[in-house]
Amino acid sequence: MAKRIDAKNLDIYYGKFLAVSEVSFTIAPRSVTAFIGPSGCGKSTVLRTINRMHEVITGAHVKGDLLLDGENIYDSAIDPVEVRRTIGMVFQRPNPFPTMSIYDNVAAGLKLQSGRLKKSDLDDTVEKSLRGANLWEEVKNRLGKPGAGLSGGQQQRLCIARAIAVEPQVLLMDEPCSALDPISTLAIEDLIQSLKEKYTIVIVTHNMQQAARVSERTAFFNLAGVGKPGKLVEIDETQKIFSNPSDPRTEDYISGRFG
């Protein structure tokens, strides 16, 4: 299921503005990688280039290669819609579809991607995804109720269920806990631990403790200065980044001397 991600010399532009430059990394399948760094350093931008979501903004484009199991997703023959079916995403703020019930929210990806589906298959997928997102027990008796009626933490798990219902290979998470309380955060972090057995996970977080808790590898991004592009400073084992980073800038950041 899970796939490997290789970035090779990625330059990311918004129009003519170079937002992030010379990013190269390798992310192993079935692992959790955390992106950390100060605000505006481009970690969310890099995350969004992995499933070509940054292209939603007019003028945004990328130079360099991004390989998914060796296949360049920026090849001109590749449809960005197909890329996003393979690489799912969870956003900073829970964003369930307000007009849909809990059931329909989870089924939305499947229903909207392809036409007719068997009701029983759909039922199975919805249950499996909600169980996968640790939400099934809480909502199984009110699947017909609106998704927007759940608590913030539940909504975020609903969004994760919605993302995994389409069976992606990779799951991108853009600060998934920043709008949640500590208990809901814990629930999501536990969920990430169980999801990594099936998916390659990349998570952007501002919370360094969270990066230390959930990830195996951590990438530190930094900004050279105002108006200059963000850069990947280093990517290494999480334990090494937080105990003995190779780059002094990383040490400054994680020890709180900067940022």
């Binding site: 964003n95 909207l112 919605r162 993302a163």
Partner: protein
Amino acid sequence: MTTAAALTSTLAGASKGGLRSFKNSLATVLVSASFCVALIPLVWLLWTVVSKGLKTITTSQWWTHSQRSITFRRPGGGVSHAILGTAEQVLVCTIISVPIALLVAIFLIEYGGGALAKVTSFMVDILTGIPSIVAALFIYAVFITTLGGQRAGIYVSLALVMLMVPVIVRTTEEMLKLVPNELREASYALGVPKWKTITKIVLPTAYSGIVTGVMLGVARVAGETAPLLILVGYSPDTNSNLLSGFQGSLPGMIYSQVPQLGNKRFHYAADRLWGTALTLILIVMVLNVGARLIARRSKIAN
């Protein structure tokens, strides 16, 4: 020393607080007064129409009869011919306008940004300000003068389209802007193509607002009189054919009875005028309430 300083500052604070609460009261009074002033003409108008028209619309013939062979001197008759004409003209107008207006609004909000969008938006602005009589003259010039058609109800519908489209475009645009971008992104991230995101996520989220916009459009055109006078005339008889002949309509009927308004000898005609006005208001109101109920029912109960 310190106590004195603290005291003065407290006092200054108190007097400032007094001034502030006075300003607050003043603003409250002004706002409430303006509200009441704005309400006066509305209540007055409703009261006039209801008090003068109620006895007419509650007669047994009103909803079922036309004005066939009813002269100004005679009592009786009804508005069925006028309701039929207005309903047909507005219905056809709505059927033509809604798809055009929705597509324009979707283009401007979801695909906009280019030069074409700017020009389109500017055109919609201009169209919003077009007086109905100009729209009617345009249709007359194109279809009757140039293409040689005869005056008919369908041309009224076409003139009304020009008035209805900008109203629906503007309200739909506002509603689409209210749909959070996060929902579009959530849908794209699931691998849903853009057109399906628009039809299955964006439009349903904005649905009730769009319905309200359509109803505003209907209310805007249902009472338009200039296109009727220019493009179809008025017939006291029932004519269900949109394609030929004079046709009755509610504004047309009001207009036809106006000359008798101050005339004591023809007080039946004056009664019918107020009855027709009340009927028009009621129909627009019923449509509005109905549309709101439909919009509410179609949404998942929160």
